[in-house]
Symmetry: C2
Subunit: 220 residues, 2 copies
DNA sequence: GAGCGTCTCCCCCGCCCGGGGGAGGCCGGT
DNA sequence: ACCGGCCTCCCCCGGGCGGGGGAGACGCTC
């Protein structure tokens, strides 16, 4: 079954470009377009696309708002890929925290764009850092994986949060971390929640995976 | 504060050896000895040791039974290290599945024995594969980490279980795995439980950590 | 002094998770 | 024909987890 995609971007040029790129693939179909965030929800309800490629910076309602709105109001929401021009777009991270499943640079090569759509459609990377990682791999990044690491750096974990994440990668529960740091369990929960939000992880398992894949901790 | 240890082994020679090795450390105190599994529970209640070094093969009640009994009946149970003569002792894995925190070969060097006791005392490796990994590192194992990997091989995951574990390392929830494999959520839960038991993991996070550290999956 | 970020703790709440059982069907080996 | 392993699904149940709020204390900068 083909992957259906809804394009959301205020620039017709970008939409045309994405459409052209994606429609080269027999298993990907662009089922609709929107020029602003406000029109997204009705279109999603009507077209029920598998994936929404969403620009972050748009008039009326930006990509962050729109992402939040879609995830909040639509049952079985589509996967959402945030599209951006700038590598370190602050809004992208906000969108990812709002629940987007991946992000894409507008200057990405066609193969990368196609790849990203397929990945999130498969649900293979509900965990967005995996997308980052795979894209980075296609970029031919050096083994250290600078781009994935950048997500963590960008996430700007505080010292305490980093320490909590480290203990999470040791398999400790919130209670055990609390004992280790001699603080309350509620405090640990706060830090864990902050870590999850900053990494775009849904639960501690995804956070630990991100920690491993980004090189925050090493298996050996 | 010093680490207190209870020794459980039917051979006086082994007990004496362990005592000699451990008492060389100023921060480790052997607080008691038992010659069979049946005497362990009252002694644990009385002495409240941090760590129990438990032989697997013993008369009356073996180490597996004793481990289970201690964990079931004692509040705030001690950490339990399973001691064995043979590298691939089937019973060891049973004991680990019963809830033991680590294992130790009798022919291990003194430094390794001390190390193992300290590790579990710190709770640093509630997750036993971490212990395996660290011991393997001391053994000067090659990077591939044969010994840790052996745990997984030994665990003998079925095809289905391995597939479920792989999806767990992608950050998927039980429900998502169920959809992916087109089976019921209850089925996935069964497989996950089996994986946790075989890996000696307490939750999916620990299982994923084990998967990464054993090379079952690779971060890159 | 006002703001901001960080760390700490608290509440409520729903849900997923994992443990404990059991059970049926399939297949392959003895 | 029997048994054992595997896969599948089911029940109940408790607890940890994570979201959503809020709040006070400290130290920093402006």
């Amino acid at each position: 079954m083909p992957v259906t995609v809804l394009l959301v971007d205020d620039e017709p040029l970008v939409r045309a470009g994405l459409r052209a790129v994606l429609e080269t693939q027999p298993d990907i179909t662009v089922v609709g377009e929107a020029a602003d965030g406000a029109s997204v929800i009705p279109l999603v309800r009507q077209l029920r696309p598998d994936v929404v490629a969403m620009d972050v910076r748009m008039p009326l309602m930006d990509g962050i708002e729109a992402t939040r709105a879609v995830l909040r109001t639509v049952e079985q929401p589509p996967k959402i890929i945030v599209v951006t021009t700038f590598e370190n777009d602050e809004y992208v991270y906000d969108a990812l925290r709002a629940g987007a499943d991946g992000f894409l640079l507008k200057r990405a090569r066609p193969a990368e764009i196609v790849h990203a759509v397929r990945l999130v459609a498969e649900g293979e990377s509900l965990l967005f850092p995996a997308t980052v990682r795979k894209l980075a791999a296609e970029y031919g990044d050096r083994p250290g994986n600078a781009q994935a690491r950048a997500v963590l750096e960008r996430a700007r974990l505080t010292e305490r949060e980093a320490e909590v994440l480290r203990l999470m990668t040791r398999g400790l529960s919130n209670g055990e971390i609390a004992v280790r740091l001699t603080v309350g369990t509620e405090t640990v929960k706060s830090h864990v929640s902050a870590v999850l939000a900053k990494l775009g992880a849904r639960d501690r398992t995804q956070a630990v995976i991100t920690a491993f894949e980004s090189g925050f901790v090493t298996p050996s």
